[in-house]
């Protein structure tokens, strides 16, 4: 037992009480989620989406397989076919298992055409495993849902570009950040 006079005056006990009292009169930091929402910044990595070209209405993916190679959790599977005449690859199916995804964002950084992106959409869930294994159709649907809230003509997200890489080394569609014209998107059922 310490016998210093400050100990006998309960100095540390009173200090503790005053700290909690001070916090009592401070504004709480709680965000009451369903009633009020925090601002989601463009750098947030949420639900996956496949960017659709507004002119053609087709997904941008060129089946280069870079995303599937770079993915640390191996959650991307791509099926494609090769056009015999031109040698052009055509995407047949793009399967992304969101259950296994670690949301590192490597796929969107490595994509040369800015096709696979992580949107800032975070309110999603599923009732079974199949709901969260996205195929091409669902990824396109995700993109349409995401840009439906956007009322400008172009969608731009500067965080979808890798920083620190010299501009010349980047493929042409990715030099200006990701700018997608969305007003011309054909919404077909």
């Amino acid at each position: 037992m310490r016998l210093s006079p400050t100990y006998l005056l309960f100095k540390d006990l009173v200090t503790g009480l005053l700290i909690t009292l001070r916090t009592f009169f401070r504004k709480p930091v709680t965000v009451r989620y369903p009633h009020e929402k925090v601002q989601v910044f463009p750098s947030f990595r949420g639900r996956h989406a496949m960017v659709v070209d507004p002119e053609t209405g087709k997904p941008r993916c060129v089946a280069c397989l870079k995303c599937s190679v770079v993915c640390p959790s191996r959650c991307i599977k791509i099926e494609y076919e090769v056009d015999e005449k031109t040698g052009e690859r055509r995407l047949r199916e793009y399967i992304l298992e969101a259950l296994r995804c670690v949301y590192c964002g490597y796929c969107e950084e490595v994509c040369p055409v800015g096709a696979i992106v992580l949107t800032e959409w975070f309110e999603y869930s599923g009732r079974c495993r199949e709901d969260l294994i996205f195929n091409l159709e669902k990824l396109v649907q995700n993109w349409k849902e995401h840009v439906a809230k956007w009322d400008k003509e172009f969608y731009e997200n500067k965080y979808w570009v890798l920083k620190g890489v010299p501009l010349k080394l980047k493929p042409a569609p990715r030099r200006m950040g990701l700018v997608v014209k969305i007003k011309g998107v054909k919404v077909d059922g």
């Binding site: 037992m1 006990l13 503790g16 009480l17 700290i19 909690t20 009292l21 916090t23 009592f24 401070r26 504004k27 709480p28 930091v29 709680t30 009451r32």
Partner: protein, 337 residues
């Protein structure tokens, strides 16, 4: 004629009991709400907000939830004792209310040995906890019950010792006499000459009600929930109701014994005369609310004691200090204060 008077008297007592029980139960229910709200704010959270405006209907929702829950009795339990234990705790917590005056003219039973009855009630309420802990047939419950028994037994001694100073000053065991004596005394309240006794009593009040930082019998991190581990539904609710009622009993006891109950000290009235017009129940209410707030405030602030620290503090510090306080009161009494 005589029988008519007796009937009226019994009716009056029953009405008094109903009023006190109603007020105290309502207070206990809303203390749960206040505790959640205040601790929330002290941790920069909001506390309950969803049920009703500002979450004000939360106690009613809690009550409904507890009433509709399944009442589970474990296979290993001693059935009869298991069922009776929460009733014992609640009964003796409520019995203590009967000897506490709420107003100079409002008291259910103005007995000569009020303080002793409260001590007796507190010591009998331990049985509910010990028996509940033992009859659950679970190791956590048994340990919680044993801890509670050791703690309450040890802390009853300094509690009684510090109250002995109050009793000596007022020369009476009646709570109303103690309050009246304080109003006439030189200092106006017992807390000033008996500051040591007050501190000892405050610490013992926390320990007697099994509240933080002395909530070892129901330490969540070590014993799941201590003696309430196996209880569910309204039986668990009874344990908690008893805890909150005993908080009010202890707060009332502190206010009556050390802070002059419904009176204000004379020197305060001479400094600030308009205080004379404050009604007596309001003074009592404000003082009691402050101590209930202190109970919650301390729970939000301090971490839990270790068991050996708890015991050594009781036997090595609190009992000698309470004896010293008793000596000081004796000398003051001889000096004529």
């Amino acid at each position: 004629m005589v029988s008519n008077n007796l009937f009226l008297e019994i009716l009056l007592i029953l009405i008094k009991i109903a009023v006190v029980l109603g007020i105290v139960l309502l207070h206990a229910a809303y203390t749960v709400y206040a505790e959640r709200k205040i601790i929330g704010r002290m941790q920069a959270r909001l506390g309950p907000t969803e049920v009703g405006p500002y979450g004000l209907l939360q106690p009613i929702a809690d009550l409904l939830k507890l009433l509709t829950k399944e009442d589970i009795i474990p296979l290993e339990a001693e059935r009869l004792i298991f069922l009776v234990a929460p009733l014992i705790v609640l009964t003796f917590a409520i019995v203590n209310l009967s000897v506490i005056p709420f107003h100079p003219s409002f008291i259910i039973a103005d007995v000569n040995i009020g303080i002793l009855l409260i001590l007796a009630g507190a010591s009998l309420a331990v049985y509910g906890i010990i028996l509940g802990g033992w009859s659950s047939g679970s190791k956590y419950s048994l340990l919680g019950g044993l801890r509670s028994a050791a703690q309450v037994l040890s802390y009853e001694i300094p509690l009684g010792m510090s109250l002995a100073g109050v009793i000596l000053a007022a020369e009476s065991f009646k709570l109303s006499d103690i309050v009246n004596h304080q109003a006439q005394s030189f200092f106006g309240m017992n807390a000033i000459p008996q500051i040591l006794g007050f501190i000892v009593f405050l610490i013992c009040a926390f320990a007697e009600t099994n509240r933080a930082p002395f909530d070892l019998p129901e330490a969540e991190s070590e014993l799941v929930a201590g003696y309430v581990t196996e209880y569910s539904g309204f039986r668990m609710g009874m344990f908690f109701l008893a805890e909150y009622i005993s908080i009010y009993v202890m707060s009332l006891l502190i206010v009556h014994c050390y802070f002059g109950g419904w009176t204000l000290p004379g020197w305060l009235l001479t400094i600030f005369p308009p205080l004379k017009f404050v009604p007596a129940p309001l003074i009592l209410l404000i003082k009691v609310y402050f101590f209930v707030f202190l109970f919650i405030w301390v729970r939000a602030t301090y971490p839990r004691y270790r068991f050996d620290q708890l015991m050594s503090m009781c036997w090595k510090i609190l009992i000698p200090v309470s004896l010293l306080n008793f000596l000081i009161v004796a000398f003051l009494k001889r000096g004529g204060f």
